[in-house]
């Protein structure tokens, strides 16, 4: 998978594997064969890999969750939850702003791909044994 394309390979029910083909990420339609949770998770994994390589993946991020759903207006959405250590007591504004800066970075990165699912990036609390 690259920033703009994904490589797929068809696998039939009896286990036969077809040849590889590339598809632009922006061409993947909701409810199509390619529109699978696993694909969207891989896309975000790939983005995280790129951010780590660029040194833009902060230590406070402990993980992330990727899901798909309809958004509030009924359009297909891609939901990414950035997991950070819980704020038990009073959390200072600067810390929350740093969290939000990373949310914005992921949001903008996914937005630039012009996906058919609109990306929604949100914060969430990281807990052990999720």
């Amino acid at each position: 998978m690259t920033n703009w394309e994904a490589v797929f390979r068809v696998r039939s029910a009896d286990g036969l594997i077809g040849s590889e083909f590339k598809t632009r990420l922006s061409m993947i339609q909701p409810q199509s064969d390619e529109d699978k949770s696993q694909f969207w998770k891989m896309l975000v994994d790939d983005l995280v890999r790129v951010l780590k390589a660029k040194g833009e993946y902060p230590d406070f991020v402990k993980g992330y969750e990727v899901t798909t759903d309809r958004d509030s207006t009924g359009e297909p959405g891609l939901y990414v939850k950035i997991l950070v250590k819980p704020a038990h007591g009073a959390t200072d504004d600067a810390t929350v702003s740093k969290w939000n800066d990373f949310v914005n970075l992921v949001q903008d990165s996914l937005g630039r791909l012009r996906l058919q699912r609109w990306p929604y990036v949100e914060l969430g609390e990281w807990r052990r044994r999720r």
Binding site: P86, N100, W118, G124
Partner: protein, 169 residues
């Protein structure tokens, strides 16, 4: 204080309730998110109607403000944050849109989506971290908007919030 500022203050208050007493109540967290969104909604819709209408006749501005639709505003804000603008808007812009206006648009979309979940989706549990982030987004929108509200790009943004359905055709 104005209604938008009062709502923002309430959102902040609700986001900090039950600190140090175990898990905060879902009611406090959900109302904080909803209130943060409405603080921003009223901030922008009041400015949009002020830009579109004279003071007189009395009540006209309020009537126009009431006619603003959440989904239309979201579509406009989405297009602005992703720089996916129709010709009618592009021809008004001399350069790329102001970064703070884009930040306001992005925050508005995030808040509206989460407001919908907070008010209607009981399967989605809110936690304080998420809510603190959202209230902070609303506070940042107020700061950004204060800095740019008299710029040409902000005027175009407000017009887009009102007329998106026509402009995007």
């Amino acid at each position: 204080m104005s209604l938008p500022l009062d709502l923002l203050e309430q959102a902040h208050f609700l986001s900090q309730r039950e600190v140090g007493r175990g898990r905060p109540r879902q009611a406090s967290l959900r109302r904080a998110v909803s209130t943060a969104y409405y603080a921003v909604f009223h901030l922008l819709s009041a400015d949009a109607s002020s830009q579109a209408c004279p003071v007189n006749p009395m009540g006209l501005r309020e009537r126009v403000q009431r006619s603003l639709a959440h989904d239309t505003m979201k579509q406009a804000a989405n297009a602005i944050q992703s720089n996916n603008l129709p010709t009618q808007m592009v021809s008004l812009l001399a350069r790329p849109m102001n970064a703070q206006v884009i930040s306001v648009a992005r925050g508005f979309v995030r808040l509206q989506e989460q407001r919908h979940k907070a008010d209607y989706d009981m399967s989605d549990q809110f936690d304080r971290t998420r809510v603190l982030g959202l209230v902070r987004v609303a506070e940042q929108i107020f700061r950004d908007w204060s800095a740019v509200r008299n710029t040409e790009d902000a005027h175009i943004f407000l017009a887009a919030l009102m007329f998106w359905k026509l402009w995007s055709k």
